[in-house]
Symmetry: C2
Subunit: 620 residues, 2 copies
């Protein structure tokens, strides 16, 4: 159809749409279709107007159009877009249309519904439309379309007027890029089909015939593997290759490694086969490279490679697994002891003293080292347990007691330092807040409501600073929020006068509180050990110091995190505000684009675990 | 001085105060004092006007007044109140006075400063004023005052005009209640002083003489103890009693128990004395009654009562201590094994499976039970370790593998239930919020800005509901915040239509997220164990289910806890608001008294520990 002159298309669109809606509501699809084609109205509307009704009347639609071309036109114009939301909004009075089917895509729904109806009515007659419905799906079903063409060729339809294989293929080539079609025909592993497509295409037979002949000469599974690989369908390639005989296993391994199809490969072999073992080994090697040594160890262990499993487990301090594998091998006692010492050393470096002690005690049979590890780790009760198990009360005097006294001192010193930093930050925060509030009110007051600079002083200001986060008080930092915090820290600086100094201070205060609060269990067990050895005086002092620290911090929370802090952008009202400042801040708030701030969030008040009882009654 | 007629006191107060301030600034204390006395102006102003200047010029003040009576008048009128803040505010123009000394109380500061000056100038002459300065202190120093009277009697002053002991005592009795003075005289343990006071009082000698004679007959420490006890000064009583000889130790114990002075008593005896042991025993008994059995055990252990210590430790599952004491006793092996089993059973009840297993393995020598405890507790790696230590691979087949498969099923089921509840609450929350918002806007719109009912629909509404909190999703509940939450729950009901339903839903959603998030470690170790035994399919399903659950919850957070939720009382603006509704909500906000809501706080978004890696690469 040629484009028409402009004049001819001048219609009042609202009137036209109203008429179309009436036709569609009355199932007069033909009238609607003709009109839309003439006035170039998007054909999607036929479906979008009322999906449910359309799907229930697909046959009527086909019967009324009664034209393969028209049906194809409708199919090819299908788009995911809902035209009643975009081009042709519904009149406000009409009730909202409920979507017929959810989850599936619209184009797929319509293609499938039409094809089902077409096949039921006359598969031969509507052959080309059926092909179109395959090709137009979100993920085009080219193989199925090709298969149908192939069937036409095998069994030419007897009905007069039905499309021949020739015509159908031509039509497909009109719809789809020829190379795509060729590749997909290869993907059916049907050489007749491939040849048929190749012949219709403008491809050079000298190019494709040798390739096809080579393929034909191969063992069927290996042939399919070769095709899959050519089409970059590596998963399928792996499946076919694995079926093509043991002599190709080296290729399997190569493919698996190249394409990292380890998990898929494992599923293709039984756990007791040599192939399974080889794939597992390769996978393990890959995992070790990915810092996943523990999982590598599990694979190696279960496929019967204990020595390599031991290596993997040892490398990542997965000590329980390492020791089990070692006993399975079995390692001779002296080597097991060496292994235990080796693992214990690594664990000690990671401050996992209890586990190190277990290894030293039970596998290296060195109770003295074990007890010392526990003392170093401040695991007092367990240290005492081992002392009694091995009847080594001498260590109590030589090591345990001195370590207890040292621990009191270091904990007391640590608490003092934390409290001092805390108080310094807290005072500074009060100063910074006062300055900010004053600056903001001044600005609002002097320059009136439209002053854009006032924003700079609001809590939500997004001024960046490049200076480094200069302070870290957390001895124990939880890994989980580490990365997020790291990113935020870059914006927060405790340097006096930095734009986000208040938040940096809140952040630092929050960290101190969390750190000190986390000490409850540690202090509790230290106090008990001190009491047991009659160090009541030292214990009493520590208890007092810790209690005061906790009280200081708990008492500061309402000041550092006042109620309503998060809504600090609410209009400024108060004794120091003026009519101007209130209106200005109110307007600012509305002008501010929502969710435009990539700022570090305002740190929330840390929760103190007051439920964790740590105090000793006997030290009051 | 008689009160004067009204007419005479009519002065313009501002003028008078201005004059007084000028006098005080000019150190004209006499003029100021006279004027204030005449016009009944509170004498505290003399100090309050400028504390620093007053303290620097105490001698001048005394010299100018030059009257014991006047000084006494000033002292007796002293109050903690700062009159420049209350009765006589400073004129606005004057600079704020910096407080001279902080920490100490004003009355004490003035009394001490005056006394120091008086004693330096003429202790005899100002005797009565000095006594007043002792008596007027926040905690009256009656003993010191009495002591001074006593000194006067011993060494009568030779200066003419100086007060005699007689006069001084009379004056004291005028200032202080006679019974108080008598009791305090007893407290000096000085019978001369007691008699002196008793004679001056109207007490009946038949009443006090026998008591005093009885006291005199006692051993000095026991005498003091009797007096202390009479005066209810139990700590002092304990100290004196402990010094009064071993024959009174039964009384010591009685006093300690009655007055719960255990810690104090322990400090009075050396750790190796029999008294120390007896006090410790008594203390331990008391502590057990206070649910502090572990601390009781520590006291008993260190004072050499291991059998009773063992009992205390066992009763509170303090198993490491119990086992140590048992080995110290030493318990014969079969009894130690029984003890270990007993403790293990208690620990199992508390879901402390690893510890139970250690006891069963190392002390009860029952590796099978130990391994089963670990399997029950889903401590897979440790179970496997013991299996290898004791070469009991048979248990892997009979118990470990079936338990793993059961664990997958129960975890999958649990996750499904959590996700279902989560989605139900989430949908319901959306409905409730929409209803609330609609109701609020309707109300604001219809009834205009002054409608008080609109408040009911705001987030901060404080309507209470008596219905029970009907749902608990937390398998694992942290003790720390338990009590606080319990109180809040009473206000929160998930029942449809309850006034706080939205918060109850947020609370429930938050708990589900926390519960599911806490499963990371558990799921990780289960997945590893499953992989080791080739249960890849089951592990894969569980990994997928858990990942979907986490994604569902993480995805819901921005919807359930939208940004700016806490400031939901900010003026309502948006497509559905009208000028009326905006102004109404804005006004409401200002009318609302700050911090008047004892409401449960809006639950904050739980933090998900995305840093805890739980997924296995090999299961993707």
């Amino acid at each position: 159809q040629m484009p028409r002159g402009n004049l001819e298309t001048v219609h009042h669109r609202a009137l036209v749409l109203a008429q179309l809606r009436r036709w569609l509501d009355g199932l007069k699809f033909r009238e609607a279709f003709e009109c839309m084609r003439k006035l170039r109205i998007n054909l999607n509307l036929i479906y979008d107007h009322n999906p449910k009704v359309f799907l229930e009347n697909v046959e009527t639609f086909i019967t009324q159009l009664d034209s393969i071309n028209h049906i194809n036109l409708f199919l090819t114009e299908l788009k995911e877009e809902d035209t009643t939301c975009t081009m042709y909004p519904r009149p406000e009075s009409s009730p909202p249309q409920s979507q017929a089917v959810s989850g599936q895509k619209k184009v797929d729904i319509v293609c499938d519904a039409l094809r089902k109806a077409l096949e039921a009515m006359d598969a031969n007659k509507f052959c080309l439309s059926i092909l179109t419905s395959h090709v137009k799906k979100t993920v085009p079903e080219l193989e199925i379309a090709l298969q149908k063409v192939h069937e036409l060729r095998e069994k030419p339809p007897e009905t007069p007027g039905a499309a021949s294989a020739e015509e159908a293929l031509k039509y497909l080539l009109f719809l789809v890029n020829v190379n795509d079609l060729y590749e997909h025909s290869l993907g059916t592993y049907d050489f007749d089909l491939v040849l048929m497509v190749a012949e219709k295409s403008q491809k050079d037979p000298k190019e494709y015939l040798p390739f096809l002949n080579m393929l034909k000469s191969l063992e069927p599974n290996y042939q399919r593997y070769t095709i899959d690989k050519h089409l970059k369908r590596y998963r399928k390639a792996l499946v076919h290759l694995s079926k093509s005989g043991e002599e190709h296993f080296i290729e399997v391994l190569q493919l698996v490694k190249e394409q990292k199809l380890f998990s898929e490969a494992l599923r293709l072999y039984t756990a007791d086969s040599p192939q399974y073992k080889l794939v597992s080994s390769a996978y393990a090697e890959h995992l070790v490279g990915q810092q996943q040594a523990e999982q590598a160890g599990l694979l190696l262990w279960r496929c019967g490679e204990p020595v390599r499993a031991l290596q993997a487990f040892t490398s990542c301090s997965s000590w329980r697994n390492a020791i089990c594998v070692a006993q399975q091998i079995p390692l001779p006692p002296d080597q097991l002891a060496l292994l235990a010492r080796d693992l214990a050393e690594k664990l000690t470096e990671q401050r996992r003293y209890s586990e190190a002690a277990l290894l030293l005690d039970q596998y290296a049979k060195d109770c003295e080292e074990a007890i010392l590890a526990l003392i170093t780790g401040a695991v007092w009760e367990e240290a005492l347990r081992l002392i009694y198990v091995h009847n080594r009360q001498d260590i109590t005097e030589t090591n345990l007691k001195p370590a207890l006294l040292e621990a009191v001192n270091s904990q007391t010193g640590f608490l003092e330092a934390q409290v001092a930093t805390f108080n310094r930050h807290r005072s500074r925060l009060a100063v910074v807040r006062e300055q900010k509030e004053k600056a903001r009110l001044d600005m609002l007051d002097e320059e009136g409501p439209d002053c854009p600079d006032a924003e700079l002083y609001s809590e939500a200001s997004s001024v960046l600073t490049a200076s480094k986060y200069s302070q870290s008080n957390s001895r124990i930092s939880s890994r989980s929020s580490k990365n997020r915090r790291k990113a935020e820290r870059k914006k927060l600086s405790l340097k006096e006068g930095s734009p986000m100094e208040d938040r940096a201070l809140m952040h630092a205060l929050s960290e101190i509180i969390t750190t000190v609060d986390k000490m409850r269990e540690e202090i509790h067990s230290l106090l008990k050990a001190l009491v047991l050895f009659q160090f009541d005086k030292q214990a009493g002092k520590l208890q007092l110091a810790y209690e005061e620290a906790l009280q200081t911090m708990e008492g500061a929370v309402p000041e550092v995190w006042p109620e309503g802090l998060l809504s600090s952008n609410a209009p400024v009202t108060g004794p120091n505000s003026t009519a101007n400042s209130i209106m200005a801040s109110f307007q600012q708030q509305q002008q501010k684009p929502a969710a435009s701030q990539p700022d570090p969030e305002i740190p929330t008040a840390p929760k103190m675990r007051n439920g964790v009882k740590w105090k000793l009654t006997i030290l009051k």
